[in-house]
């Protein structure tokens, strides 16, 4: 009897979450229909796996930390060293695998900080309007009018080279995109009837921003973050390449190519494989971002 009572009061997990389960099934269904999105997902998952377990699966983990084997300098790809070795005799495969963590971390950090700065500013600008909006948007325009990488270069140059400064600099030039995106979205969401409805039941502005505006702005932001992680990794690698990012012997991919530059073209594998790693991650995040865009497309929501 009492058993029955509790079951009446609280329906099972499946019933309570039927909507979410269906939603996720729909997401997976949409994603699986598209070959390119699946490819992106597989690539991203693969690199995430490398980032998580890199030191455990790398064949010569000590090489990533800068071990020197002068006897095996610049050996071409072989059975022991699939991707060959570099000028210090370190295994390039191991360095790439361990470097995945640095690159992904950089990408996540840059876009994460940029979104944390940009999204609140965008929401405030869009919701408040008037002076607040004018100030925020003009500041955004100011940042957008200078080429991002050049500005980042200037910032790193003044802060001094290094991975932390590189992340700070890129995050500082990355946020204006989020302000633009979120401001436009907020402008349309705040005209929706449910915002007025929330005000009529006594909701104050912070509540409306947090519970209504933010969740409804989030899907394009997630898509943009996914697309941007690839670009951020590329930008960080570029800074690494010109010697302003991670410093060798850190196994950051851009820094690796930077050193390998002087060994082209005879020792091609030294720059080729780190280059491929960058290429694949950027491709993977871009394809995944496109797939996410399809998922979050409002036209697919009603199905």
């Amino acid at each position: 009897m009492s058993q029955q009572d509790t079951s009446l009061e609280r329906p099972g997990f499946r019933e309570r979450h039927a909507s979410q389960i269906r939603m996720w099934r729909l997401y997976i269904h949409t994603l699986r229909k598209s070959f390119t999105s699946m490819l992106g997902l597989v690539i991203v998952a693969f690199f995430l796996f490398l980032a998580a377990f890199g030191p455990q699966i790398a064949p010569y983990p000590e090489d990533a930390a800068g071990a020197i084997h002068m006897s095996q300098r610049l050996m071409p790809p072989s059975a022991e060293h699939w991707f060959g070795t570099d000028e210090m005799g370190a295994d390039i495969l191991s360095r790439i695998i361990v470097g995945a963590r640095i690159s992904l971390w950089i990408g996540l950090l840059i876009t994460g900080i940029a979104a944390l700065i940009g999204v609140p500013l965008g929401i405030i600008a869009g919701y408040r309007g008037g002076w607040t909006r004018a100030v925020i948007m003009r500041l955004t325009d100011l940042f957008l009018s200078v080429p991002g990488l050049v500005l980042a270069l200037a910032i790193v140059a003044s802060l001094g080279p290094g991975i932390t400064n590189c992340v700070i600099a890129l995050a500082l030039v990355w946020w204006p995109g989020y302000v633009r995106l979120v401001e436009a979205k907020t402008l349309s969401v705040k005209e929706e009837l449910f915002v007025e409805s929330a005000r009529s039941i006594g909701a104050k502005t912070p509540w409306i921003l947090w519970h209504h505006i933010l969740p409804n702005c989030l899907s394009p932001v997630i898509v943009k973050i996914s697309l941007d992680i690839g670009m951020a990794i590329l930008a960080a690698a570029s800074l690494g390449f010109i010697g302003l990012g991670a410093r060798p012997p850190s196994p950051e991919w851009g820094a690796m190519i930077s050193v390998a530059r002087s060994y082209m073209p005879d020792w091609w594998w030294y720059s080729f494989f780190p280059g491929m790693a960058i290429f694949l991650t950027v491709l993977g995040f871009n394809l995944l971002g496109d797939g996410l865009r399809d998922i979050f497309d409002p036209r697919s929501r009603d199905r």
Partner: protein
């Protein structure tokens, strides 16, 4: 003599994520030249899909699974793009529900019509002619649909025209190809009553004059009856009943048709009058809300202002239902929003429970909002799609009370019971609910704090007629159970008559008439009120029956 349109056992499937949907099942109908055929059904019954398929603009993921559909000997089920060009818009054309979205806002009306004419001539293999000549044809088309001063309208843009004018322009475009069949898909749903009556008259007259075959679709059986001579009732992709409109109206065979007919609010019956009259004589304890000299001016840029509401004063008594009637633009929604201070009034006082709302500080206003709540016109957008129903109903409790999560859940369950929805719904999301269910959720949300005054802004105008009837019954029940006072805003006179004790008629921001609902309906003082009532009566059931008898 072959029929102009012949559909036999036509079935259509749409593959969706949740499985195959049988959108149309074994549809059979035959139209002779000059027929006026009506299709009635709720939203989702497949009526729009059916006529769109006749025009080759059906859903792209639809699959034809059986049956035939032929127009004047042409098989429509296997037509290619080239073949459609000779039929679509030329021999079969269509007018749509919302004329604004079907007109390009950046192109002058004249250019749009002349482009249509050019396209038709091209399809027929003729010379397209000069633009000046085409504009002349366009002007004559506009004259045909009773547009005064067509030369001026040709130079105007869609936003400069009223809803009725836009629909006339669309009709003229549909007639440009001199079609055999005119399909009208809910052509009057987005229009005011007076305009609706005019457009229906126009369609009737054109059908006579041009010997058109008309297919008229609506969820409103009253509107269908004014045009059609035969009709079909559709439900869940099937035709449940088909026949002479008079037979369907007076002796419906299917129980669903009866349900639809019962749902139409009565317009002229006198028994109901007695009932509402009695209710209004109940003793009142003075006004709960009184509005004094309320005005609102909107800035429209360039230093110009528009008076949305002009010096309006009225009282709302305790426990009564006061209706505010008017066409769009009459300022009725503005008043509703000012009462809740969602819009700040320019002038005047709003006295709620002997306190002046306009002088409230933000904190006092928050407290006062517990006692007055609003139900919005469009339940589809009044609920945040990312909040579950439970969250939506619990939101006012979270905002205004400090009860525990457990108590809140219990109260949400109670509220769902009150609005007669299953408790499991609290885990669902708005897009999974029908329009009527969503509006119930909105009502539950607004009564969560036990308010005294409920402002209802066209709560049923976005709903189907059959759903509207259920929501109205429920609102009436709720009012007497919870001792609520309603300020009920609507453009639909029949609805106001069915629900309200007293009513106010508004026009262009001013009160034209104010009194007991029955008195106003029996002997309206103003010509405007009279016109409103006359046009409302035109699409009522009784009028439909009479028209059918006469025809």
């Amino acid at each position: 003599m072959t029929s102009i349109l012949d559909v036999q056992d036509f079935s259509l499937d749409i593959d969706t994520f949740d499985g195959t949907l049988h959108v149309l099942r074994d549809i059979s109908l035959t139209l002779e030249r000059g027929d006026k055929f009506g299709i009635v059904g709720e939203s989702g019954s497949g009526k729009s899909v059916l006529v769109r398929t006749m025009l080759g603009i059906g859903p792209s993921n639809a699959r034809h699974v059986g049956g035939t559909m032929s127009f004047d000997g042409i098989d429509l089920t296997c037509l290619d793009a080239k073949g459609w060009r000779k039929v679509r818009g030329v021999r079969i054309s269509m007018i749509f529900q919302d004329p604004m979205t079907y007109l390009n806002p950046l192109v002058a009306i004249g250019t749009q019509i002349s482009d249509v004419i050019a396209a038709h001539r091209k399809a027929a293999g003729e010379d397209t002619g000069s633009k000046a000549e085409r504009l002349k044809v366009a002007a004559s088309l506009l004259t045909q649909v009773d547009i005064p001063d067509p030369e001026r309208v040709l130079k105007q843009y869609a936003f400069q025209l009223s809803g009725g004018m836009r629909q006339r322009v669309l009709i003229s475009m549909a007639l440009a190809g001199q079609p055999d069949i005119l399909i009208a898909d809910e052509p009057t749903t987005a229009l005011d009553v007076t305009v609706q009556a005019q457009v229906l008259d126009l369609i009737n007259e054109l059908a006579e004059r041009l010997n058109l075959t008309v297919i008229f679709i609506s969820h409103d059986i009253g509107a269908v009856a004014t045009v059609a001579t035969r009709c079909a009732v559709m439900r869940q992709g099937e035709i449940v009943e088909q026949g002479d409109i008079l037979d369907v109206l007076s002796a419906p065979k299917h129980s669903y048709t009866r349900e639809l007919l019962d749902a139409i609010p009565e317009f002229g019956s006198s028994e109901q009058a007695a009932e509402t009259g009695a209710a209004s004589e109940a003793p009142t304890d003075g006004p709960i809300l009184s509005i004094k000299d309320l005005s609102k001016q909107f800035d429209i840029g360039g230093g110009k202002t528009v008076d949305a509401v002009k010096n309006v004063s009225f009282d709302v008594q305790q426990n009564e239902i006061l209706g505010i009637v008017g066409e769009s633009g009459s300022g009725k929604s503005t008043i509703a929003r000012m009462v809740l201070r969602l819009i700040e009034p320019t002038n005047g006082n709003i006295i709620f429970q002997d306190r002046d709302v306009t002088a409230f500080s933000p904190a006092e206003m928050l407290a006062a909002r517990k006692d007055m709540q609003m139900v919005f016109q469009n339940p589809h957008s009044a609920l945040d799609g990312r909040h579950s129903i439970g969250d939506a109903i619990g939101e006012p409790l979270r905002l205004n009370t400090s009860i525990s999560r457990y108590e809140r859940e219990k109260r949400v369950d109670e509220l769902l019971d009150i609005v007669q929805l299953p408790q499991l719904f609290k885990y669902r999301y708005p897009h999974e609910l029908s329009g009527g269910q969503k509006q119930r959720v909105c009502i539950a949300r607004s009564i969560a704090l036990n308010p005294k005054l409920l402002v209802l802004d066209e709560p049923t105008s976005a709903l189907d007629v059959s759903v509207q009837a259920k929501v109205l019954d429920f609102l009436k029940e709720l009012q007497s159970e919870m001792n609520l006072t309603y300020l009920f805003i609507s453009h639909d006179l029949a609805v106001v008559r069915a629900l309200c004790d007293r009513c106010i008629v508004m026009r262009k921001g001013e009160i034209v008439e104010n009194g007991m609902t029955e008195d106003i309906f029996r002997n309206p003082n103003q010509a405007y009120t009279q016109a409103l009532i006359e046009s409302g009566r035109k699409t009522s059931k009784d009028a439909a029956m009479q028209a059918a008898h006469a025809g």
